[in-house]
Amino acid sequence: MSSLSIQIPGLNLRNPVMPASGCFGFGKEFSQLYDLSLLGAIMVKATTPEPRFGNPTPRVAETPGGMLNAIGLQNPGLEKVFIEELPWLEQFDVPIIANIAGSTEDDYVAVAEQLSQAPNVKALELNISCPNVKTGGIAFGTDPDLAKALTKKVKNVSEVPVYVKLSPNVSDIVKIARAVEEGGADGLTMINTLLGMRIDLTTGQPILANKTGGLSGPSIKPVAIRMIYEVSQQVSIPIIGMGGIQSAEDVVEFFLAGASAAAVGTQNFIDPFVCPKIIEELPEILQRLGADHISELTGRSWKKNERLAYHRP
């Protein structure tokens, strides 16, 4: 058994590294750069029942160590994703995690019901944390009762395990995490972006046409680490960690905080080859840590009597 293979609900992965939703489209662009079968899994772009164009441009703005985006869930809609995008991905030996979104509970249920039937979709990611749409999205992710109720409804119709993507834009993320666990979530993915804004000095106006956007990139990594550290001690379902991962060392840090797998987002835009690079580098880092298998690292920062000796090269 490889030191990188992991098993979490619905997902038997050859390695724990996957591109995060919204940072990889439906894989076509990156397939020109490397073999997608190298990846642990792929979290594809959010799908809503109807096609969406998304927000006006500018849709991105930079900040030191990060970027703001307000794409607005642009996607070709449920039918096209089911008939074209997901079947196209079947040529690769890689499980797909389908990110599902919508404006109403019925939207989520409709997308979940259909996409969970696609042969290569092994899990759903319930997107209740998009900060860039007027209705739905984050509205479900900031209220524990709404989050729990929606999780239940989606679980009822889904053929595959359901992971809920949590928003960091809450005062108590543990409360939301517990609520969705009670609602039947099989796992969590965290964190989505932090709501932010930048203002252009020459115009005096926000740079993004949507005014606010989601902050991602290395600047949010400490927030993600802290939240995973807190949540992983309070729930018994696995966490796929994300938020500013750029390197194999970052992946290990997420595992130590309590994650069982890791997703790479913004760094795909800066280095499109980052995922295969991380996968290649991980075994050596495990060796340095004296770990036989990456899953040993999950939660080692808070588990008692599990101090690590990190041997620098």
């Binding site: 919204g22 940072c23 990889f24 489209g25 076509k28 662009e29 990156f30 020109q32 750069l33 772009k45 096609p51 969406r52 164009f53 998304g54 441009t57 500018p58 849709r59 991105v60 703005a61 930079e62 900040t63 030191p64 160590g65 990060g66 970027m67 985006n69 794409i71 642009q74 070709p76 809609g77 990139g217 290395p218 600047s219 913004t266 795909n268 835009f269 800066i270 280095d271 499109p272 080859f273």
Partner: protein, 259 residues
């Protein structure tokens, strides 16, 4: 084929008011063909700025594996790029996007190349390739002021060059469209790259039967994955159909997308 490579700086020369010409050496030059394609440049080794900068390719020299990009020093990223000196390395991703369709202009035909400001650079490689194919090249380039003018002489190697400056300090006072309005002939094809108001004026298709425009938009990934640089199509201006400037463009046929 898109490659990522640390390219070596051959030279980085100021050629106008805050305008720099950067010559880079790298194997990915072999993959460059169409004028109007761009490279995505990582200007910092650290986190600030985090994203790459899309810059169009001005010249391709396959014989010695070098290519030229021209940029305006105006923000943090380009200021860092301006500090690079010969021998240093720059992280380049490319070539990216679809460039100008050189073969649309047949031997013996006349092409007008229109460039505004930092929209001028891709016109150099385009002029070079068109001239090689026996196309008559006329370049019309516009700038803010005399100190910002560059590449007039370089473009003159391939045909006549007309220059406009907004303040009238060099060439004709006004915009490139003022020069075009004064032409008493019609070209077979127009290629343009520059600021949006300029492109809108040329998008009317009034200056030639065939018109191609290179667009600019804030980009994230540059390869079509992040959906930052999306625009509507003219056929469906309020609907769901779209084009990505980075990977469907940056060059579009006039009338194809909403500018």
């Amino acid at each position: 084929m898109i490659k990522q490579e640390n390219c070596r700086v051959v030279s980085n020369t100021q050629i106008g008011d805050n305008i720099f010409e950067l010559v880079l050496s790298g194997e990915l030059t072999a993959n460059m063909s169409e004028p109007g394609q761009f490279v995505h440049v990582k200007v910092s080794n650290g986190f600030d700025p985090l994203l790459r900068r899309p810059i169009s390719i001005a010249a391709i020299e396959k014989e010695n594996s070098t290519f030229t990009i021209i940029y305006r020093r105006q923000g943090r990223g380009t200021a860092l790029l301006a500090e690079k000196s010969a021998g240093e390395e720059v992280d380049i991703l490319g070539p990216l996007g679809n460039g100008f369709p050189v073969m649309e202009a047949a031997q013996g035909q006349t092409a007008i190349l229109i460039g505004g400001g930092v929209g001028v650079p891709p016109m150099y490689e385009l002029a070079k390739q068109l001239a090689q194919n026996g196309v008559s090249v006329i370049s019309v380039i516009g700038f803010q002021t005399e100190s910002a003018v560059f590449y007039e002489k370089e473009l003159a190697r391939f045909g006549e060059v007309y220059v406009a400056t907004v303040d009238g300090s060099y060439g004709r006072k006004g915009f490139v469209t003022d020069i075009l309005a004064g032409f008493d002939f019609q070209a077979d094809i127009v290629f343009a790259c520059g600021p949006t108001p300029m492109l809108r004026a040329i998008d009317t298709g009034n200056f030639a039967p065939k018109t191609y425009l290179s667009l600019e938009e804030r980009m994230g990934c540059g390869i079509g994955a992040c959906f930052a640089c999306v625009c509507h199509t003219k056929e469906d201006p309020h609907g769901y159909t779209y084009k990505k400037v980075c990977s469907d463009g940056p060059v579009f046929k006039a009338g194809e997308v909403v500018i």
